[in-house]
Symmetry: C2
Subunit: 222 residues, 2 copies
Amino acid sequence: MARAAECVGVITVYGFSPSGNCHKVRLLLEQLGRSYHWVETDSSTGATRTPDYLAKNANGKVPLVELDDGRVLAESNAILFWLAQDTAYLPTDAWDRAQALSWMFFEQYSHEPYVAVARFICGWTPADSPRRAGLAQLRERAHDALRVMETHLRAREWFTGSHYGIADIALFAYTDVAPHGGISLGAYPAIRDWLHRVRHTAGFVPMVDPDPRAAALIAQSA
Amino acid sequence: MARAAECVGVITVYGFSPSGNCHKVRLLLEQLGRSYHWVETDSSTGATRTPDYLAKNANGKVPLVELDDGRVLAESNAILFWLAQDTAYLPTDAWDRAQALSWMFFEQYSHEPYVAVARFICGWTPADSPRRAGLAQLRERAHDALRVMETHLRAREWFTGSHYGIADIALFAYTDVAPHGGISLGAYPAIRDWLHRVRHTAGFVPMVDPDPRAAALIAQSA
């Protein structure tokens, strides 16, 4: 119900629960213990392409954060940065903060377009989708990104500095479910150890499992 | 212990001059009046794939900033953020700063992979490259991104707040040269006005023109 004056500060998140980009935002909000209102918005069936939604975000993507006064913030990693300000999840040191951003831009440019898109094609497109012809190449580029992460994690516990933070959240989201896209993590022991550490951070919540239809498609796509 | 950006001495930038991602860094350094050492690194002919370079940046991309103590920072937009700290090019307000990041993530996810990649294919791959078969689709997605920008700029002078800043620099780099990729800006008067404003900011320097070989390929690709 309508957010009353005393609830100012409760943010609304438009998100699709099986999306790693959206889960990033939920995970940090849960770990921060922040109240939020989640509006399930199924980007796989056009809910981000309605005129109402496009009026909020002309780029037609989730997640999107909306404040009580109607202001909106798009892009999962910008939302993480904004939510994490003045918390332990964002490094205070300028260099470490820039490194966190560097990994987050790596995630959006060199990781998500392969790891997440392969998963989307496997679980959320028909078994005869022409997009499946691109899976082999996507998986190859996904492994390029995973090798970069493995190299970094061989000598380090977290992506920036000595603490878990938003760079870890950004990279965890789709790496943890890479096998849904037919991308094995078998060759990456340092990544698997890091995923385990992330799952044991305070307040961690897992992403929802794919629904039965998506799960069946994923099983067929392995 | 990390030092603030203004205390690190002369920085080295590994960059390929005709790359918009690299030009972003040069443009901000020039506008800040900062000293820097530019190491020309031709990513179109493998200079970012040598063992020496991969030891600096396992992801094999330019630009890369190196400090005199050997520490490195990758990803153009993370470099912009780091350089702009405590300057007028980075908003001080937390919400405006998050909006700047939002536009920069938009640039790397929804703009650069189409606008920059179409340009690269036109100018830096052979005239018979099989990659040219993808140009029509890249151009279509590029126009999607340009429409989002046009919508924003119809009512605003700059991408965030009331000042020119790093979000403008990030989006300017490849938008200004979109026609090299066969992407006309004819339908975007607000973008063209904004490009004009950016070109007239203090200390502005243009990107180098493509070399004669690339220029000839671009002319054939229109």
